[in-house]
Amino acid sequence: MQLVLEKRAERSNTIALISPLIAIGLTIVTMVILFAILGKNPLLALHAYFIAPLTDGYSLQEIAVKATPLVMIAIGLSLCYLANAWNIGAEGQFLIGAVAGSWIAVKTQGTDVGPWVLPAMLVLAAAAGALYALIPAICKVKFGASEILTSLMLVYVADLFLDYLVRGPWRDPHGFNFPTTAEFDPIATVPLLIEGGRLHLGAMIALLVVAAVAILLGRTIKGFEIRVVGAAPRAARFGGFNANQLVILTFAISGALAGFAGIIEVAGPVGHLQPGISPGYGFTAIIVAFLGRLNPLGILIAGLFVALTFIGGEQAQIAMKIPLDVTKVFQGILLFYVLACDSLILYRFKLVFPNRQVTRGAG
């Protein structure tokens, strides 16, 4: 007796709907086991992770703040992945966007400039992120170099470049030698939505991005081309779609969104440029993109859910001394289960009895 995969005649829509829920359920079961191994009360830990952050206003705002960059980056990545272009360097594009936008903030510091500063920062950050993402895209299209490896290598380069700037030319002279720029002027920061709270304008922008990409994918020819090139490359060739052009386009959009997220993070919740502005947003966004099944609305929900695990992880660390790395393990396992469950949309399990088959063949 053997368990094998068998291709379904057509994709199962029921499983497509419930698969993320199965994945989350399986992840929670796995986490309970992991908490038990770590010697923590699994119920209390789950409460700290998933319930506690939802019970107070501050944490709720914080979830939205964390979800903002995740959703923005993941939306861009989903376009790439739909077109079968593998941008995994969003972390680098995020950092470069943060650096480029900060350049204006740092250079205009203390001067009496107009309200054009923040819009200029946002535009420059998006442009820089897009240009940075175009490096691997062009290397792929022109020379056939693997975009997976080149985009990832550029993450390390961006990280070191940011490190150089805040330790060297841009360091705050009054910062006690800490590697950080001075706090941005109020005019160069993203305005808060709630006075005295944490929620900032970036969250609204993220919602607009979700809506815009939903329209792009569902209602425009370009969006159709992106989906066809990824799902059926041969059909796309017959249809005369230019796959290379779509690689460039999707990389540029995702780079721009990542760069945008970068400057919003720096000019919003952080308030200055420093190393470690991202707890791996660019990589976590990959999980968000898949958990949201590369669908804009799905990504919005997935982004909020993953942000919840970030906040829950911090609270679990404070309340129960559960290491922060558990959050990463959690996110990794979640991605595994999501991918595994997605496989059941196209395939189903089947038991085969090799002996019987042989007899039937012989008879």
Partner: protein, 305 residues
Amino acid sequence: MELVEAIILAVLAASTPLLIAATGELVTERSGVLNLGVEGMMIVGAACGFAGAWLTGSTFIGALFGIVAGTLVSLIFALMTLGLAVNQVATGLALTILGIGLSGLIGAGFVGERITPAVHLAIPGLTEIPLIGRVLFGEDGFVYFSVALIVGVWWFLHRTRAGLILRACGDNHVSAHALGYPVLRIRTFAVMFGGACAGLAGAYLPLAYTPFFIPGMTAGRGWIALALVVFSSWRPGRLVVGAYLFGAVTILQLHAQGWGVGIPSQFMSALPYLATVIVLVLLSRARTGGSSAPAALGTVFVPDR
């Protein structure tokens, strides 16, 4: 003279983890599976390797821990991509994210601890030869093993029937299946071999390179190993050249920082990563007409029954 010897020794030490991890990935990719989780398997190998050596006091047991850990993690990948026919790129990324988290959990208790680093070979009379003595006869066991490993893999892939079958699976899994070869089983072994090598390469870092464990100490070496496999055009001989070239770039930038060249250290540190990008572009560009990659690399295979 002393400096030249020191530089060669340092280059060998920096190249060895790259060579071991890339050798494993080469075999995996030759069987047609693209495992992007090398970084994740390496970092788990580093944490478990250190744990093993710290608990038992033995470098050898530490290395075994690394190998077993890397293999176990790679089995998750095999189950997903071979058992459930999941996209290999996405699974590899998931493996890296999981590996980084796992290694943080395992290694948390060991940060700040020290172990005795791996012993170096010492043959009286030979090791003292100036310039080449320590390079040839004074290395740690990992360095000799890595050379034996790549020679063994070359012999296996290109001189044995089993190696030919493995390459057949990587070039055309449908034909290999039609000839009656168990494609998925062969690929599973190839993935496990890749995991074992990545685990060992990771374990090398805290066992021999630096005698302590730091979270995230692989610092992208797994990704560089992946790039090296592309660089080598999937050939063991070129892989050796690539790994040592890369080690040399890493060490030279460190020395350049020491010599006080007026370039900020961050720019020098970025050099190995930039070099990877440039090399990938130059190589891909030079390859006109057909790629040397295994033809079925990264494609899902569900056998017809």
